[in-house]
């Protein structure tokens, strides 16, 4: 076998293929108790076929794999709608303190007063920021926060003997989780159109809102990166029809100190702590999706809700709670990071977050709009939705541009979303990035546009300099190989 050099020769063998009999990375201590008889052998299994590798091999294997990733720590990552802002290191360190990481969820409340105090403080701050004072931190991700919000909606209507309300109105620009959560909550989905300016079509909404409307699910600002100019009218239409307004808080990073959702008349919202409140995305979680509601709806919140009483802090069950929606109390150590983030920034810091996020997105939009179409030709909020429709006519799709960006060490924007925008590229720079980084991104985007005419093959074949070139995703789905096997 010839030994070659270069990036193409990263050792991609799986752990089981590196396994050598009886090699170990770790030693379990010997038992310090008198021997206890084992159960009958009919209960016992053969050894589990797990890797047999040394500790160095474990560390090197995962360290090398980590280097195959783009991440916020290593790359500009303007993935729209995901708010890939800097995740302060101190927050991870503090959340891992033994006094927080090593406590059991079922410990007596008197032994976890610090933990519950932290949760209560975070609830209060999230309630203040959103203007919706009833808060439960139980949901484990945004989609679970949405689902909790819909269960609250159903409980509210049922309590008013109005259970015939079984329709969720969802804009055509909504995240897929919205209709999926609605379906889980037994709601029928009615889609409201967007108008030519990227706003909810108010006349269409008026036609749809009626006695069957349970809830209107609206992302604020919208997935177009826009704030609905008719927001108060929209909310009034739904309320007049007897429905509730649920705000998907995926884009809350645009609103800190700018506007409170509760002030607008929103009844329920969720927030993704892994977006707005800087907890790490983890390659796809863990997240946390607290649900916030008006005082009137607080009695329906999922359990638990942290409360302060005369006898200290407690985890309470709201009087008409929709119940538990998962195992314990939510993503506690994620909540701890969000708490650390809010306490670090404080009032002034949080206000500048959204200001800078909005300015950064508009800056990108202003400097690219001569080359790239905008989803809507107006000022955006925290993210700029571009369209590669002009580039498409010249032979290069949004996907190709996304892949070419990777060659420059820039993570691609969110592609082909929202679905209603042709060749959408959703760019969310976040407040964390410097002007120099934004300028670099802008220059690269302009250069890629030039390459369409000069060297289109560079774009079509991108990425060139990553551990792999484009992958055959159709093959992955057609003949699924989903695990290691001895046969390979």
């Amino acid at each position: 076998m010839t030994i070659t050099t270069g990036a193409g020769d990263i050792d991609r063998r799986l752990l089981m293929d590196r396994s050598v009999p009886r090699r170990v990375a770790f030693t379990v201590p010997d038992s310090d108790v008198p021997f206890q008889k084992l159960p009958d052998s009919s209960y016992l299994r053969d050894d589990v076929e797990l890797p047999e590798v040394s500790q160095l091999e474990v560390v090197r294997y995962f360290s090398v794999l980590s280097q195959l990733n783009f991440s916020i720590d290593t790359n500009f990552y303007p993935l729209g709608s995901c708010t890939m802002k800097y995740n302060p290191k101190i927050n991870d360190e503090l959340a891992n303190l033994p006094g927080l990481a090593d406590i059991h969820p079922l410990q007596p409340e008197e032994t976890v007063q610090g933990a519950i105090r932290l949760l209560k403080s975070l609830q209060d701050d999230l309630g203040e920021i959103t203007g919706l004072p009833g808060v439960s931190l139980a949901p484990l991700a945004g989609a679970q926060g949405e689902y909790a919000g819909l269960l609250i909606t159903r409980a509210y209507h049922a309590a008013r003997n109005d259970a015939e309300r079984t329709v969720a109105i969802v804009p055509d620009s909504a995240h897929g989780t919205n209709p999926a959560s609605a379906a889980m909550a037994g709601l029928e989905v009615a889609t409201v159109r967007s108008d030519d300016h990227g706003n909810v079509d108010v006349e269409n909404l008026r036609e749809l809102a009626d006695g069957r409307t349970a809830v209107f699910m609206l992302t604020i600002p919208s997935t177009m990166g826009l704030f609905e100019p008719n927001i108060l009218e929209i909310i009034k239409i739904i309320h007049d029809a007897g429905g509730l307004v649920y705000a998907d808080g995926a884009n809350l990073n645009a609103l800190l100190g700018i506007v409170k959702l509760g002030d607008l008349g929103v009844d329920i919202c969720h927030s993704n702590l892994h977006k707005t409140f800087s907890t790490p995305h983890g390659g796809g979680g863990p997240g946390s999706g607290p649900v916030m509601v008006t005082d009137e709806l607080a009695k329906y919140l999922p359990k638990p809700v942290a409360e302060k009483t005369e006898n200290g802090y407690v985890l309470a069950i709201p009087e008409a709670s929709i119940g538990p929606i998962n195992g314990f109390h939510g993503s506690f150590s994620i909540a701890a990071r969000a708490y650390a983030y809010i306490k670090s920034l404080g009032l002034e810091g949080l206000q500048s977050v959204s200001e800078n996020a909005i300015i950064g997105a508009n800056y990108i939009q202003a400097k690219l709009k001569d080359k790239y179409d905008l989803a809507a030709d107006r000022y955006c909020m925290h993210e700029a939705v571009l369209s590669a429709s002009r580039q498409k006519k010249r032979g290069v799709a949004g996907l190709d541009i996304a892949k070419r960006l990777l060659d420059f060490g820039i993570h691609a924007p969110t592609m082909y979303f929202p679905l209603i925008i042709e060749e959408a590229l959703m760019v969310e720079p976040t407040e964390s990035e410097s002007r120099e980084t934004l300028d670099h991104f802008i220059a690269v985007m302009r250069q890629i546009d030039d390459e369409i005419d000069s060297t289109p093959e560079l774009i079509h074949e991108a990425p060139h300099d990553l551990p792999v070139t484009r992958l055959d995703e159709a093959k992955a789905a057609r003949k699924p190989v989903l695990r290691w096997t001895a046969e390979g």
Binding site: R22, F62, G176, G282, G283, G285, P286, P324, I359, V468
Partner: protein
């Protein structure tokens, strides 16, 4: 930058926001420096009882204290894993994707199942999604759950299914017949009380009735006890927390989810598959995405999106570190210690331990008085006792012992119970 945009102030950019609601007053504290924040956290942590301030604990019931190897903590420091997101651009996420493929492999090896997904939120939500999946596969709407299961399983299932026309039926663990219209039966083994259930018998019973068999396991127990895959089980779920994840007051954890290959297109959650690039090199990508919400919207198999990839990494590094030998040794060590503790407590006047079959980690002790009183007296001695389950078993306390309890810790508990028992 405002000049480039062509405006004078931020307010020119947010003109669509109703002016009367712009820039509301916010009642928030002033910001803290990193050093001040560390002080705030030190104070919070000190208000909690844990090993660092001298407490020992015998709580289990779904979250377990285990030693976490240094490799897990070290790899978890890598920002390339921690600050990436869902691998929508597979070429720029091969690290996350290959780890996910390794994770799926580990879960299959542990459970003896054919396929696994890349992880759910936690054990109970994985169980609930499994039951909904069984309903889709069988096109039936009644779901049986053994009454010996942790109540959190049917409770979470209720939250997931209450508006989908699903009925939850409690099944006696000693039942020899089951209703013939069930979509599935969910068995927890070891069950809530730590006992190994007869998975084989229930699996046969479900299959005779055209239903699916779902088993919710403790992954550490799989280091020694037979894997559900040996019994033709259809879906296996578990709380992944015992595999290298801190208890952290309840989360974040990871739900493990494995099933037979035949049902893969009804499986919820992310799935990572192997493929090749344009040069024929091996690579990994998210696959079978047409099941998922971002494609199928209201007809998706689940609404799950952001899940628990990083916790899956912890589980994968943990499994790689313990390896074949380590997991077996660990399961045996936990078994030895729990059985020692049970035998010692059983000898105490006033206390008895119910032991009919094999158990793992946990066992029920019947106390001479209310477990609440016993626990209160234990807490005075800096011992966090077992879970008070007097609602399920008269004066019952569910005691859990893992490898993190030394013999001295166990003896401290036994001595304390003797003292408290003598005083009652």
């Amino acid at each position: 930058m405002l000049g480039v945009i062509g405006v004078d102030s931020l307010d020119d950019l947010i003109g669509d926001i109703p002016i009367e609601h712009r820039h509301p007053s916010l009642n928030l504290d002033a910001g803290l420096s990193e050093q001040e924040l560390s002080g705030v956290f030190a104070a919070i942590a000190a208000e909690n009882a844990s090993a660092v301030n001298g407490y020992i604990s015998f709580l289990g019931a779904g979250a377990y204290s285990h030693y976490i190897p240094s490799t897990v903590k070290s790899i978890l420091q890598r920002g390339e894993f921690v600050t990436a997101y869902t691998p929508y651009q597979p070429e720029a996420a091969q690290g996350t994707l290959q780890v996910g493929f390794e994770f799926q492999t580990v879960i299959c090896q542990l459970t003896g199942m054919e396929v696994a997904n890349a992880g759910m939120y936690d054990g109970p939500t994985a169980f609930a999604e499994a039951c909904l999946m069984a309903a889709r596969v069988t096109k039936r709407t009644r779901i049986g759950v053994l009454s010996s299961a942790d109540a959190r399983l049917p409770e979470t299932l209720l939250a997931y299914s209450k508006h989908q026309g699903i009925e939850i039926v409690s099944i006696d663990p000693n039942a020899t017949e089951i209703p013939d219209d069930l979509a599935c039966i969910g068995v927890q083994s070891p069950n809530f009380f730590g006992e190994i259930e007869d998975v084989e018998r229930f699996t046969n019973l479900t299959h005779e009735n055209g239903a699916l068999s779902i088993v919710h396991v403790n992954p550490t127990a799989l280091g020694m006890f037979k894997a559900p895959g040996e019994f033709d089980v259809d879906i296996v779920t578990a709380e992944g927390q015992p595999l290298g994840v801190p208890m952290a007051f309840g989360g974040p954890y990871v739900g493990l989810f494995a099933c037979k290959k035949a049902h893969i297109r009804q499986m919820p959650g992310r799935i990572i598959g192997r493929t090749t690039d344009t040069q024929g090199r091996v690579g990994y990508a998210l696959t079978l995405q047409t099941r998922e919400q971002h494609i199928r919207r209201e007809r998706a198999t689940s609404n799950i999106c952001t899940s628990t990839q990083l916790i899956g990494l912890m589980v994968t590094v943990y499994a790689a570190t313990l390896g074949k030998r380590g997991l077996k040794d660990l399961a045996n060590l936990c078994y030895q210690k729990a059985h020692y503790a049970a035998a010692e407590i059983d000898q105490l006047d006033g206390f008895s331990v119910e032991r009919t079959g094999p158990f793992f980690h946990e066992f029920v002790i019947t106390c001479p008085e209310s477990p609440a009183k016993i626990n209160s007296a234990l807490l005075d001695r800096k011992i966090i006792g077992g879970l008070d389950i007097s609602d399920r078993s008269n004066n019952g306390m569910l005691v859990c012992v893992t490898e993190t309890s030394s013999k001295a810790d166990i003896d401290r508990l036994v001595d304390a119970l003797r003292e408290i028992g003598a005083g009652s």
